[in-house]
Symmetry: C2
């Protein structure tokens, strides 16, 4: 069963090149190719693609907005972003919106086909520079401040981060609320802050 691909790309020569590439390769089926994504929701519902190739910079509505609308639907299709932009803002906005993969337009046709298959098979292809950015956002930045908290102080802070009040923290840890207060005072000294919200801002920085 071939992979059903739907293309959104406003640049006509490129859109046609993509169409020819996909339609001309066995195991890949081009189910549509559009120059704008204004009717993306109904088109996806009707054409039932497995993978959607989406350009970011399109007239009327950006590819990112289109992804957001798709996400509000019970869609199963995965979206592969194909763009010339590799600036952090655009990349992460698209990923957060729900993109499954992110390729730069300079990607080779053979790699593009491979990426479409990878998405279809449960992967998340990215250009190398994008992948590195994504990894770096997940890297833990050692925080000398918070690492010097004691076990109990850390537990208190974690509970506060979950939205618990002093009272609840005390109940949950089975200690007196006065003890909670004491720990929080010490946390403030160590982190050089003066309120829970400030401490939490440092905690998750």
């Amino acid at each position: 069963m071939p992979i059903r691909v739907l293309v959104y790309e406003d640049n006509t020569p490129l859109r046609e090149a993509l169409s020819v590439l996909i339609d001309g390769t066995s195991d890949y089926d081009l189910v549509g190719a559009f120059g704008d994504n204004l009717r993306v929701v109904s088109q996806v519902a009707g054409l039932q693609p497995d993978v959607i190739l989406m350009d970011i910079d399109m007239p009327g509505q950006t590819g990112i907005e289109a992804i957001r609308k798709l996400r509000q639907q019970p869609t199963v299709a995965d979206v592969l972003i194909l763009t010339v932009f590799d600036d952090d803002d655009r990349v992460f906005e698209a990923i957060r919106a729900g993109a499954t993969g992110y390729l730069l337009k300079k990607t080779q046709p053979s790699r593009l086909l491979e990426a479409i298959r990878e998405v279809y098979e449960g992967g998340a292809p990215m250009s190398p520079s994008i992948a590195r950015k994504v990894m770096q956002t997940l890297h833990y930045r050692p925080n000398t401040d918070i690492s010097q908290l004691t076990t109990r102080e850390g537990q208190v802070l974690a509970r506060l981060a979950d939205g618990m009040s002093y009272k609840l923290v005390a109940a949950d840890m089975e200690i007196s609320i006065e003890t909670v207060r004491t720990y929080i005072k010490r946390i403030y000294e160590k982190l050089h802050v003066h309120s829970v919200t400030e401490a939490l801002a440092k905690f998750r920085s």
Copy 2:
């Protein structure tokens, strides 16, 4: 100039196979191959590898602990995890510790060499299933609650998340502290919470 590769893998047959593969390929230089990573810091300092292949499950000290120690040094080498584990906990622990790439051991030798080069050139190769997991953690989970906040309410919440007090938020937004209070009251109604920390817990969920 060949890529200098250092291998940590306790399984001897596999370690030797990796050594032969790397050393036998032009443009790749095997600078060392060890069965344990207890002296990883000094070895890396001495051998000056560009890319480190690291197994996770090793005797004495896990590959993740080794990465943590390397991160505390002024090391420039990138670490590529090579493991049989693809469970979420282990994957994300390694990534947070500072791994640059994450490959499963079932990866083909040709793909492995390609991945080493990709790391060297600034990428972050991952097995498809790992890449998908990474992307999903970054996906914004549409929160109907917070999306119904007005512009100003959202701005207030963002500033509270940065650790600002009502007073500071008011000064920063150039509005009265009473207005800040009003917005916060409405935020509480919309998010069904009763404190700043609770609201923030929902805000970033």
